[in-house]
Amino acid sequence: MSGILTYALHYEGEFNKNSLGAVSEGAKLAKEIGGDAAVVVVGGDDLTDELCGSLGKYGATKVFRAKAPEGLAQPVVDVMAKVIQDNGYGYALFGGGLLGFEIGAGLTARLGGGVTMEVTEVKAQDGKLVAVRPILQDSAVAEVDYVGEPGIIIGRLNAFEMSESGDGAAPVEDVDVQLSDWSTKATMVQRGEQRGADVNIEDANILVAGGRGLGKPEGFELAEALAEALGGAVAATRAVVDAGWYPYAAQIGQTGKTVAPKLYLAAGISGAIQHKVGMQSSENIVAINKDPNAPIFEFSDLGIVGDLNKILPKLTEAVKAKKGA
């Protein structure tokens, strides 16, 4: 049978935006190749009939709901494998995120289906799906077809747009799944801890973002001074957030925030894909990096090859002087 099964991640009673994008994409593609646009949700009591049914708005034709621990991939693999085996979906689809990678990978092992990741576009061709996937740090784009079923498609963050194409609530069906032994051997102790101060970067028109190139936690003072002079806020990469140099709330990228300010000035940031996906829609991108081969220069409007320790202080002074004038 054909049809597409999309996984929708939720947290504290709300669906993840990237999951809603994937549900919308699944609905669109299912119309093109024929079959159901089904969605699977996994969690506890906060998955109410109303919340699950609301996926119908994004085009879901059916929602499978299973009770299992949240925030871990392997229980979802068990659920999706069963739903696919019982109903024969031809494709499994995931929005951008971390769990999607883990669940999609687990499914590939369990069901022997092909998998593509970081997919930016899915095309329907002759009743089948073809995944478009940038490779080699986005220096080439591969078009990938699946051999056999299911084809597993893991999207890139923000690749699929949300669209309210459906009407009314989707029917919800409970599925009873016996979890695998090994799926019960990981337990969530604490989820979604927000490390560091709660800063607001989403409303800023100007962001000065700092990465590992700032050298040490105190390096952020340079970024803060420039941000203040420009009238903006400070953002960060995962590398420096994981290292405890800057709060998580300021992190841009795959497991952080998505922003599109008027100016994004990146200092000491290499421009890894997982960072790029959170800021590439910025209107103007300026990068300061001492490595002329840094990937960030591939998608900057203005690139400065040089040492940020020399450039940032002088730039701050010059901006102050200009604005004061």
Binding site: A109, Y248, F297, G306
Partner: protein
């Protein structure tokens, strides 16, 4: 306890990555090295071994790759692994994620590890998925992108960043864990370790040695087909300034910002 670390040989980042237009595969000729992300996995294994909270008898580096991949294993051994295993067989060429994960899992089954560690991503493949594929085949619990890991009483306490912030997860051993690059600062190998690396035991295995079904790997086992490799959508190249005289550079940046009304 026995720790297996999965390591991969990748083209050196300094070398431009190319696609072979005929096979549509990555052109893997040229300089190669141990995947830098895997050095964090080896270091994590060494810290458990040296940490005193778990009794680690052995750290084994495991790779699947062509003959040349022994160099990645030598590097892994110079960083502390006690011995290494290389799965190498012509039948494995052109394996996709599904096949690679299966083949590595079969190789690991023969080793019976209590813990399997991996890097967060391969520098060339950027798939982020091998860990979870291997774990499902091995029937072990698994987490990826772990940046803090403590072992105690047959359990791991792991921390990582997921979509809503930091998660703390307890995982029972045996388990498969991929580590993020923030987990540690890998050590440099000593000259003595580099010199001694070639003398440590290295086991070469063919697919038959670890019960891999030929039809499930290589070209035959592929579950995906690359139809085409295209250039990326063209984006107008940005302006580049090489900073020679910083006052001059700053002046240019300010003019650029002003032109775009960003200093209003």
């Amino acid at each position: 306890m026995k720790i297996c670390v999965l390591v991969k040989e990748v083209p050196d980042a300094a070398v431009e990555k190319r696609i072979d237009p005929n096979s549509k595969r990555l052109d893997r000729s040229g300089e190669k090295n141990l995947n830098p992300f895997d050095t964090h996995a080896i270091e994590a294994a060494m810290q458990i071994k040296e940490g005193g909270k778990a009794d680690v008898e052995e750290v084994v580096a495991v790779t699947m790759g062509p003959e040349s991949a022994v160099r990645a294993l030598h590097k892994a051994v110079s960083l502390g692994a006690d011995r290494s295993v290389q799965l190498t067989d012509d039948a494995l060429a052109d394996s996709d994620v599904c096949a690679t994960g299966y083949a590595l899992a079969q190789t690991l089954k023969a080793e019976q590890p209590d813990l399997v560690l991996l890097g967060q991503q391969s520098d060339d493949g950027e798939c982020y998925t091998i860990g979870a594929v291997v774990a499902d085949h091995l029937h072990m619990p698994s987490l990826t992108q772990v940046i803090k890991m403590d072992v105690e009483d047959g359990k791991l306490r792991c921390e990582r960043q997921a979509e809503y912030g930091y998660d703390t997860v307890e995982v029972e051993l045996p388990a498969v864990i991929s580590v993020g690059d923030a987990i540690n600062e890998p050590r440099y190998p000593s000259l003595k370790a580099i010199m001694g690396a070639k003398k440590k035991p290295l086991d070469a295995k063919a697919i038959g040695d670890v019960g891999i079904e030929a039809g499930r790997v290589g070209g035959e086992g592929k579950r995906t087909t690359v139809l085409a490799i295209n250039p990326p959508p063209q984006k107008e190249a940005g302006q580049i300034i090489e900073d020679e005289d910083t006052d001059d550079t700053v002046e240019k940046i300010v003019a650029w910002l002003e032109e775009r009304k960003l200093l209003a």
